[in-house]
Amino acid sequence: DLGAIGDNLTGTSASSGHDQLYNLQMLEAAFHKLPQPKDSERAKTYIPRHPAVTPASYPQVQPSIVSHPSFWERIGSDTLATDMLFFAFYYQQNTYQQYMAARELKKQSWRFHRRYNTWFQRHVEPQVTTDEYERGSYVYFDFHVTEDGSGWCQRIKNDFTFEYNFLE
């Protein structure tokens, strides 16, 4: 109720007991310690969980290009490219690469199922769609162990119910 909000009778701030001159001096000191852009950047450096010794002729550090969004945006949608995305997603967890791989997979209409930790893509339009789920044939990417061996592959699951509760 003083006309100038925040000031009290003696020209100081009622909240802090500081006067205008003091506030300006502190502001000017802070002017030389502004937050820098890198202060809000998260490290994108990849640290391998199980580092192995490789020949010196092999690259020993990740190429910087994999930290650039445009590398992931141009990766394409062929099988090799999609396999790369899955590799980054499953084997480079908690990195920028996993984040970008997930983003690109979503652009290619893959959807992550939080219960099965698996990516699904509609093979055909769902037979049933409700507010809670959809059901139909889906391509999914998973690790399979069979009599013939084991490995990652894409398979088709028919009559699968994808509950939206588990959609990431």
């Binding site: 109720d1 100038a4 205008q20 502190m26 000191a29 802070a30 002017f31 937050p35 809000s40 580092p51």
Partner: protein, 526 residues
């Protein structure tokens, strides 16, 4: 809680964070151990524990500040010195893990978070108070940024817990507002406007975050207000001002309804001379609204559907009136004006005591004037809408001056007419400013205050009053854009409608420069 033992624990934690094969299981075990040691109960021991951790993290981050110059002598670099954030990032992660994995002892995780935030707030306050100009805000900034990234979400599934987290941060930021910790001001504004905080607070939980953000913005404007009275700003304040303008532009673009709903609160804490900043706020309009071009020939304002709709007002409109015990008097006058002496000394009641006036930079209680003008106008508009027999009749009433108009809204208008003659130049200017602050997007308030502005011009008994009305409008138009829609249509009506005889007033051609100025503004209004 032995600081040395805490340092050992922190060192173990940092080593764990640095280890390439660290897993959530390891983090869980560490946090569980802390809990078993009684360090996470949320009591005084917890507070001391987290306070020591904060001090350790900050101290270690600043150890690398001194840069060794060639020749071995240590000197402060004139540029920003390098800071290592490993200890800060590690401590931030510990807090995130504690919130994620500790079994609730306190009722909910938001409560634990609030305790940790209050420890951080006190650390910053103490550090800033002790170090004064040598206080470095950046490690604490990094700490908050980490938490905003990791503890908030835009995921709608967790709206209510996200809201608790965001409001905990909002409360912490309020405790650290520039008036309390001026050396933290830049870091504060960057955090408050960060894309991990501001949009999330404004988007979550059906606008329940809006009062929290309004409070923060008002705190910033209060800090800047004394300095913004002057056109020339010190360099540091100029940077803060431009930063604030950027933030207001983001709000204007992305959350205009927020600026619309709280415009009154913001105008209360912006000096009358800070015209462009105020215009940015007053230019906001709801995103679903299409504003007709004010320069459209023969634009029929009266036919716009929006002018019969009252805007949503979330600010406390009559608080200043109530605090000065004036609201009851205003209500009584509006109900029963006959024989009332309310108007006879109203202008005196708007003055500040002399010692307060020197601090405020004005002899008048500006928030009180703003409150009076807005409250009276709202009552008049409500009364009009209650009395209307049919929509078209009320529209005609508000647009054309007639004895019926005066009868319907005369009591409210009498207050303005009385004040405009009884106030001195400064008081009249502030009154007209308060009226012009309601010239915004098409709505019933804009329509009423536009009418009042033009009515006061046409009914003025002295040309000095007409000049002052013109000046108040003009100074809002000659600053760089944006300009509020209601301001434009009012000024265009004033200069175009022959009723007001605008161009025959002597002040419109009192000097060649003034003539050119009017012509230029008239051209820019189309």
């Amino acid at each position: 809680v032995d600081p040395n033992q805490v340092a050992v624990l922190f060192s173990e934690w940092c080593q764990m964070c640095n280890h390439v094969s660290a897993s959530d299981a390891a983090y869980t075990r560490f946090v569980t151990q802390l809990q078993q040691d009684g360090l996470l109960k949320g009591d005084d021991i917890s507070e001391r524990f987290f306070r020591i951790l904060t001090e350790l993290a900050v101290t270690h981050s600043l150890v690398s500040e001194q840069i060794v110059a060639p020749g071995g002598s240590s000197q402060q670099s004139p540029q920003q010195p390098h800071i290592s954030y490993f200890s800060i990032d590690s401590y931030a992660k510990l807090v995130v893990m504690v919130l994620k994995y500790s079994v609730e002892i306190t009722p909910n995780k938001a409560s634990i978070l609030s305790k940790i935030l209050s420890v951080t707030v006190r650390s910053i306050q103490k550090d800033a108070e002790e170090k004064k100009a040598s206080f470095n805000p950046r490690p604490y900034f990094r700490l908050f940024i980490n938490w905003l990234y990791d503890l908030t979400t835009t995921d709608g599934h967790h709206d209510s817990s996200n809201f608790q987290v965001l409001t905990a941060f909002a409360n912490a930021f309020h405790m650290l507002q520039p008036l309390r910790v001026p050396a933290w001001s830049f870091a504060w504004l960057e955090l408050v406007s960060h894309r991990s905080f501001m949009p999330k607070l404004l988007m979550c939980n059906s606008q329940k975050g809006w009062p929290f953000f309004q409070r923060l913005l008002v705190a910033l404007l209060k800090f800047m207000e004394p300095y913004l009275r002057n056109a020339e700003l010190p360099e540091a304040m100029d940077l803060l001002y431009k930063g604030t303008m950027r933030v207001l532009l983001v709000l204007l673009h992305d959350f205009p309804e927020f600026l619309c709903d709280y415009h009154f609160s913001f105008c209360d804490v912006i000096p009358s001379s800070c015209i462009q900043m105020r215009n940015v706020i007053l230019s906001a309009f709801p995103r679903n609204m299409r504003l007709p071009d004010p320069s459209t020939p023969n634009l029929k304002i009266d036919l716009l559907a929006e002018i019969s709709i009252a805007p949503r007002i979330m600010s406390d409109v009559d608080g200043a009136l109530k605090s000065k015990q004036l609201k009851t008097e205003v209500d009584e006058y509006l109900k029963r004006p006959e024989g009332s002496s309310f108007l006879s000394d109203l202008n005196q009641k708007l003055l500040l005591p002399q010692n307060e006036a020197s601090v405020a930079g004005t002899r008048y209680n500006v928030p009180l004037i703003n409150s009076l003008v807005f409250y009276v106008g709202i009552q008049a508009v409500q009364q009009l809408q209650l009395n209307k027999a049919n929509p078209s009749a009320s529209v005609q009433q508000i647009n054309h001056i007639s004895p019926m108009d005066i009868f319907q809204i005369g009591t409210a208008t009498d207050i303005f007419r009385s004040l405009i003659t009884s106030l001195d130049t400064e008081g009249r200017y502030l009154l007209l400013n308060a009226i012009a602050n309601q010239l915004r997007y098409p709505n019933s308030h804009t329509h009423y205050y536009s009418f009042i502005t033009l009515y006061l011009f046409s009914e003025a008994t002295q040309e000095i009053t007409q000049e002052q009305i013109t000046r108040v409008l003009l100074e809002r138009l000659i600053v760089n854009r944006p300009h509020p829609w209601g301001l434009l249509i009012t000024f265009i009506e004033l200069i175009k409608n022959p009723r007001y005889n605008f161009w025959s007033r002597s002040f419109t051609h009192c000097a060649p420069e003034i003539e050119k100025l009017f012509e230029s503004v008239a051209r820019s209004c189309g």
